[in-house]
């Protein structure tokens, strides 16, 4: 159905090709997962399927990409609209109309589908993706998961034979991700649609995949094959496979269910051991206090009476569904919004009344799209500007950056950095002014496993320096590894506030894969298991 025939691609002004001699075929009706480290060219590969690369990106593409028998070299993306449905990383950026129903109909209008057929298909898709309740809602009022489903629906109404999804769940909370993936698997199984999907959260998708394309990103050839076979040799793997490698299972389990069946011996070996107990956060001074905070957007309530305390040296995870009010809370803490009711105090002052210069000394926020913080040409220029903004000694920001991630080329453009490096740069800019409280909004979006590990190390370092960290995230693995406390927001209210391990493990939605595999014991990640097994084997040797 999709055929890449010796495809190589070089972006304009790039020295090295992004894709080199990519050659594979995805047969009809398969769900094919594209894996690779950040910056390896996954998105480029996906966008080449309907010709957006190179037609919109510029650059030089050699070789032939064929979809449903049509070559992208011969027809522009718009002529492939009835064959390929493409959903990008940020679904909201691609919305054309204002209301859900119109958005679903848009592609059919372009294809010239008869009005009565249009109405029927819109109804079908509304039902298929569970969007019925939302049909008249303005797109701007939807939550992330709803937006993602609408985006998928908006290409599905054309009746495409191929669906291309770029990171469909990375911005979503676990429940919303489940919704989207359930809808996608239904499409594959019921309608025989071919799906090509790229995803960092392998643990969410890999169990549904029929085949995996591994894009190494270092110039070596692309590997395609059976998921467990390809993944056992891949550097990017989900936690279950990592556990499988540790325990030496074969064949590799891809789902929690498979792993659980294979894990009986492992659980027995672990039985005498206790999982590490949660680290007690040093009961430091009160850094931030929120009481009775309310916020509304027009007629929508984002926060209703939130109470929250953060102490020095504490890492607090803020969890909850998309649209639960996490970002709104962070914006209040950093003074971007003034409270409508209730008070917000950070280091004794109300941030929204402080000048920007004063605020950054007490609290700093790394926003979800951290690129907006960066607007200079080089990393060095960003660091110099940050020093100037905060009246810091020259070289402060640079020193912080080197401590977080050593070895970033000072001359490179912030846009050319990998997601992880860019996050470190944004974090360094915020940390230069030595704020007592650091806020991070969805820092793991777009990070691969290795980058996540580095993020965890960075956060631990901050906490050990006595800084407080408040982390809004969906990523339970990160929460399990680093957070002392977890707060769950729902419908603008705090519904849970307690030790991270307890909050996370006892929720069927939030529990990490390892915890599910090794239940009822509360092992959170592979590192804990590895460390425990080491103590077990240590004395016997």
């Amino acid at each position: 159905m999709i055929r890449f025939d010796h495809v190589s691609f070089t972006y304009p002004d790039a020295d090295v090709p992004t894709l080199i001699d990519v050659d594979f075929i995805v047969p009809e009706g398969e769900l094919c997962l594209v894996v690779g480290e950040t910056g390896s060219g996954k998105s480029t590969l996906l966008r080449a399927v309907n010709g957006l690369v190179p037609r919109f990106s510029g650059g030089l593409l050699t070789g032939v990409v064929t979809v449903g028998g049509r070559s992208t070299a011969q027809v522009p993306p718009r002529e492939l609209a009835d064959v390929v449905g493409m959903v990008g990383q940020d679904p909201a950026a691609g919305f054309v109309t204002d209301v859900v129903e119109d958005e679903l109909a848009h592609v059919m209008e372009n294809l010239g589908v008869a009005p009565d057929v249009m109405r029927r298909r819109v109804e079908d898709v509304l039902d298929l993706l569970g969007l019925h309740e939302l049909r008249n809602r303005p797109l701007s009022t939807l939550s992330g998961g709803q937006q993602q489903r609408v985006a998928i629906g908006s290409v599905l109404t054309a009746g495409p034979r191929v669906l291309v999804l770029d990171e469909p769940t990375s911005a979503l909370d676990p429940a919303a991700a489940e919704e989207v993936l359930a809808a996608v698997t239904r499409l594959v199984h019921d309608l025989g649609i071919t799906v090509l999907v790229a995803e960092h959260r392998l643990e969410r998708v890999v169990q549904y995949a029929d085949s995996v394309v591994f894009v190494p990103g270092d110039g070596s050839p692309v590997v395609i094959g059976d998921p467990s076979a390809v993944l056992s040799g891949s550097p990017v793997v989900p936690p279950v496979i990592e556990l499988g490698r540790l325990a030496g299972w074969s064949p590799m389990p891809l789902s929690v269910r498979d792993a659980r069946r294979a894990s009986a011996p492992l659980r027995e070996r672990l039985a005498p051991l206790r999982p590490p107990q949660p680290a007690e956060a040093a009961a430091g001074d009160l850094v931030a206090q929120v009481s009775g905070l309310q916020a509304t957007y027009g007629s929508l309530t984002a926060l209703s009476g939130v109470n929250l305390e953060v102490r020095a040296g504490e890492v607090v995870a803020l969890m909850g569904r998309n649209g639960a009010g996490k970002s709104t809370l962070l914006n209040h803490l950093v003074g971007l919004r003034a409270p409508q009711r209730g008070t917000v105090r950070v280091c004794g002052a109300e941030p929204h009344r402080q000048s920007a210069r004063d605020v950054i000394r007490s609290v700093g926020l790394v926003p979800q799209d951290n690129g907006v913080l960066l607007y200079h040409d080089t990393v060095a220029a960003e660091c110099v500007a940050a020093d100037r903004d905060g009246d810091l000694a020259a070289g402060t920001t640079r020193a912080v950056l080197d401590r977080l991630v050593p070895g970033i080329d000072q001359r490179s453009h912030p846009r050319d950095l990998s997601e992880g490096q860019r996050l470190a740069l944004a974090l360094a800019i915020v940390l230069g002014a030595e704020p007592a409280l650091v806020l991070l909004d969805e820092p793991t979006r777009g990070l691969d496993y290795a980058a996540k590990q580095r993020l965890i190390a960075m956060l631990q370092m901050l906490a050990s320096e006595g800084r407080s960290v408040l982390l809004a995230t969906h990523d339970v693995e990160v929460v399990a590894s680093v957070a002392h406390r977890a707060i769950v927001l729902a419908e603008g209210e705090v519904v849970a506030d307690g030790v991270a391990r307890d909050v996370v493990v006892h929720s069927p939605v939030f529990a990490p894969q390892i915890a599910k595999v090794l239940a009822p014991e509360t092992w959170m990640n592979v590192d804990e298991v590895r460390a425990a097994l080491a103590t077990l084997e240590g004395p016997s040797q």
Binding site: L52, R55, F56, P76, P77, R78, E79, A81, D82, V84, M86, G88, A93, G94, F95, V96, T97, D98, V99, E101, D102, A105, H106, V107, M108, E109, N110, L111, G112, V113, A114, P115, M118, R119, V122, R135, N136, R137, P138, S140, T141, V155, A158, G298, S299, V334, G335, L336, A356, L365, P367, D369, V372, L373, Y375, A386, D389, G390, I429, V430
Partner: protein, 383 residues
């Protein structure tokens, strides 16, 4: 009591009925005719009236969507334009006699640059004249701002004739750039605060111009890519030969219309370059539109309808323009004298015309609100 009940029941029924949006074309006709009316005058009273009327209509009929909040920004851009115009007048403007307010150091330019002056005495007349011209431009900007806050750019894209899809990407970027820039500027403003920079003042403007423009362009291109991937501008079954023919025809038509309109504006142009190319170009364009419209199979899910309110809205704009043109023909003081400086007069005919353009504040349908959309959904489900 009973009467009250009946009234409120009637009102509830009325509000439960799904509200529709006015056809985007009607808003654009209204806004462009008002802008055209503004271009025919430098009378600050009439220009002020136009802005006030436009602001009133926007406040009465805008939606809750993000782009609808952009009108204020357009007004700010207008104020900026006036300031720039006045400052430039001070620095490089034509010097006028009259009441000297202050004198800037002047530079005497060599004779080949005669006619250009730098610095020198700044007179009240010169500043007033510059302010009038700046105001006119600001009003035109406000009119377009009104159009883009009253109807989303996407609905405008949908309403375009299909032949223009040929230039799909360019048009998408052109039409969505301004609203995207508004969103991007809000983002950049927040980011500046997060970095601890001054949020106001000229330095903030200078510092955020590039990120805002880059961000807006990126968003517009992303949108264009998404639209293209979903078949926008698709030609369907039309043959390659016809497509090329239509493209050629459009190109020739546009060229001819350009030559013709230049000829029409420049009265010194030979008559052969005036009406004939214009007419030829118009015919070629119409033919191209027809051919490509026939080729592109497009359908409408829920077509925007053109009903009485649409007629009223567009005619009210035309009334303002018409009044302005008629008044101008009859020698009304549309351009108040600068030298000698005279008090501008409130010319009645255009003023009434502009007042008529306020009609949409009542006769355009009220757009659906976020909250009411939910009630509509529930109502429909219940029914």
């Amino acid at each position: 009591m009973t009467v009250l009940h009946q009234q409120s029941a009637a009102r509830r029924r009325r509000e439960a009925r799904p509200r529709r949006m006015l056809h985007p074309g009607a808003w654009w006709i209204w806004a462009t005719t008002l802008a055209a009316a503004a271009l025919r005058t430098t009378n600050p009273l009439l220009l002020g009236l136009i802005v006030a009327v436009v602001a009133f209509v926007v406040a009465s009929r805008r939606t809750d969507a993000p782009w609808s909040r952009s009108f204020g920004s357009f007004l700010r851009i207008g104020a900026f334009v006036i300031t720039i115009r006045v400052v430039f007048q001070m620095l490089f403007g034509v010097r006028l006699d009259g009441t000297t307010l202050f004198t800037l150091p002047s530079v005497t330019l060599p004779s080949w640059a005669a006619g250009v002056s730098l610095g020198g005495p700044v007179t009240l007349e010169a500043l007033v004249g510059a302010a009038y011209q700046g105001l006119r431009l600001a009003v035109v900007i406000a009119c377009f701002g009104a159009a883009s806050s009253l109807c989303s750019p996407y609905r405008m894209l949908r309403a375009l004739p299909s032949a223009l899809y040929e230039a799909g990407v360019a048009i998408t970027v052109a039409l969505t750039f301004a609203p995207q820039a508004m969103i991007a500027s809000r983002q950049v403003r927040d980011a500046r605060r997060l970095r601890g920079r001054a949020e106001r003042g000229p330095r903030a403007w200078v510092g955020s111009a590039m990120p805002v423009l880059e961000g807006a362009l990126e968003r517009s291109v992303a949108l264009a890519a998404s639209m293209d991937a979903r078949g926008y501008g698709r030609r369907g079954a039309i043959s390659v030969r016809t497509r090329r023919g239509v493209s050629m025809l459009m190109l020739i038509g546009l060229g001819a219309v350009a030559v013709g309109s230049y000829g029409l504006l420049d009265e010194s142009a030979p008559s052969i370059l005036r009406m004939p190319p214009f007419a030829f170009g118009a015919v070629a364009l119409a033919l191209a539109l027809y051919l490509s419209g026939r080729g592109a199979e497009r359908t409408r899910y829920r077509a925007d309808r053109w009903l009485a309110p649409e007629w009223l809205v567009s005619l009210s704009g035309l009334a303002a323009l018409g009044a302005m043109v008629v008044a101008g023909r009859h020698g009304a003081a549309l351009d108040p004298s600068i030298y000698p400086l005279a008090v501008p007069a409130l010319v009645p005919v255009p003023a009434i015309g502009i007042a008529v353009a306020m009609l949409p504040a009542w006769c355009a349908p009220r757009p659906p609100a976020l909250a009411s959309l939910e009630t509509i959904t529930h109502f429909e489900v219940a029914a």
